[in-house]
Symmetry: C2
Subunit: 215 residues, 2 copies
Amino acid sequence: MLDEPVYVAVDVVCLTLQAETIVLMVRRSHEPFLGAWSLPGGSVRRDEDLEEAARRILSEGLGPHQPRHLEQLASFGAPNRDPRGRVVSVSYLALLPKPVEPQSAAQWWPVSAPPELAFDHGRILVSAIERLRGKLSYSNVAYGLLPEEFTLSELQAVYEAVLDRAIDKRNFRKKVLSLEMLEEAEGQRRGSHRPAQLYRFTAPGLVLLDDVITA
Amino acid sequence: MLDEPVYVAVDVVCLTLQAETIVLMVRRSHEPFLGAWSLPGGSVRRDEDLEEAARRILSEGLGPHQPRHLEQLASFGAPNRDPRGRVVSVSYLALLPKPVEPQSAAQWWPVSAPPELAFDHGRILVSAIERLRGKLSYSNVAYGLLPEEFTLSELQAVYEAVLDRAIDKRNFRKKVLSLEMLEEAEGQRRGSHRPAQLYRFTAPGLVLLDDVITA
DNA sequence: CCAAAAGTGTTCTCTGTACACCCATGT
DNA sequence: ACATGGGTGTACAGAGAACACTTTTGG
């Protein structure tokens, strides 16, 4: 039953916001696709869980920064997806609150205009965006793209950037506050304008909502 | 980069309805977990895609019957999840319109009271049910549990069995007909009662809805 | 005083929900 | 005739969506 070992790789779609949604890519230093851009990826080691592998691979592109959110996307295993042989790739979605400075071979790209990608990484990127868009409406997954404390405008900016559409401020506030997933934090965010109340999510980590954020 | 080959298995959660939701299990004929029940599973072959492997493995439990719907669930890769060594399992959800007669080592079990399962298959089963429940509301995935043509009562029975709650008949009909995902078929279903109009889904395969079925 | 973002309510429409009876057939 | 599931409409309440002005700060 256990014949036919294959290689298992993990590829990570690491997203954050900088006005628009951006994604971390690395330039390949080996064949195949030498010099092309690809998602950060690598083989799973014998003693590590898939999610551990995703964190290790991500740290090769980002240094010691941990993602705020990390979840599995899907696995891709077409027999010829890698010219070197049989490689099954398990993809992960990672979310960061800010674009940290990437390591040398890595670079941030806008999701709206990514480079040509090696392997089937274009498809993986598309599936990551779709997952994130869907999950915004029925979960608090936006926490992955925000610092611990944030203003309602910053939260709304996450929704607007990912969904790529404007949202009414009053309706959005009414809705998210009614969901009881936020609580007021101590301070205010100051700038050259009226200070903004800070909030945080009541529960740590991912929470699926009964209700749906439509606003 | 491509060190450390591991074994890749596919495990299939095959569901159908028979009054309640039931799931296909096979009795293991080898160690580990000899004699225990498990999901139908097996190694991926060198030349087959993951989904092909799922179909092949499913046919070992079901014979030549094809599932109406097949989709990937998630991958599980804890280093010690299989005592024989490093095995990454890619799980699939398969849906059938009717419980076909299983092959010798296979048997249908009610999802509400499954047997003790080998490996981490209990977790995989739970994640399959959750996926199906969620997807009923925002897709036409119920087609996988129905024949090509079906009555509105049969469609409603799918929702009631999977969600495990009663649904109002008038509201349900109003809602699903308003979604324009159904069209009338030619015949009627007859029985010792008024004949029922047959319907079919307008589009073949899975369609994600803009709207949500709440009824 | 000006610019910038924060904050706040009301109205209307639409959708979800609750609810009960007659209809067509088979036996 | 009776049992069985098929099929239908209305009224109410709650949620989504549209919409504009005042407030507070920094410069």
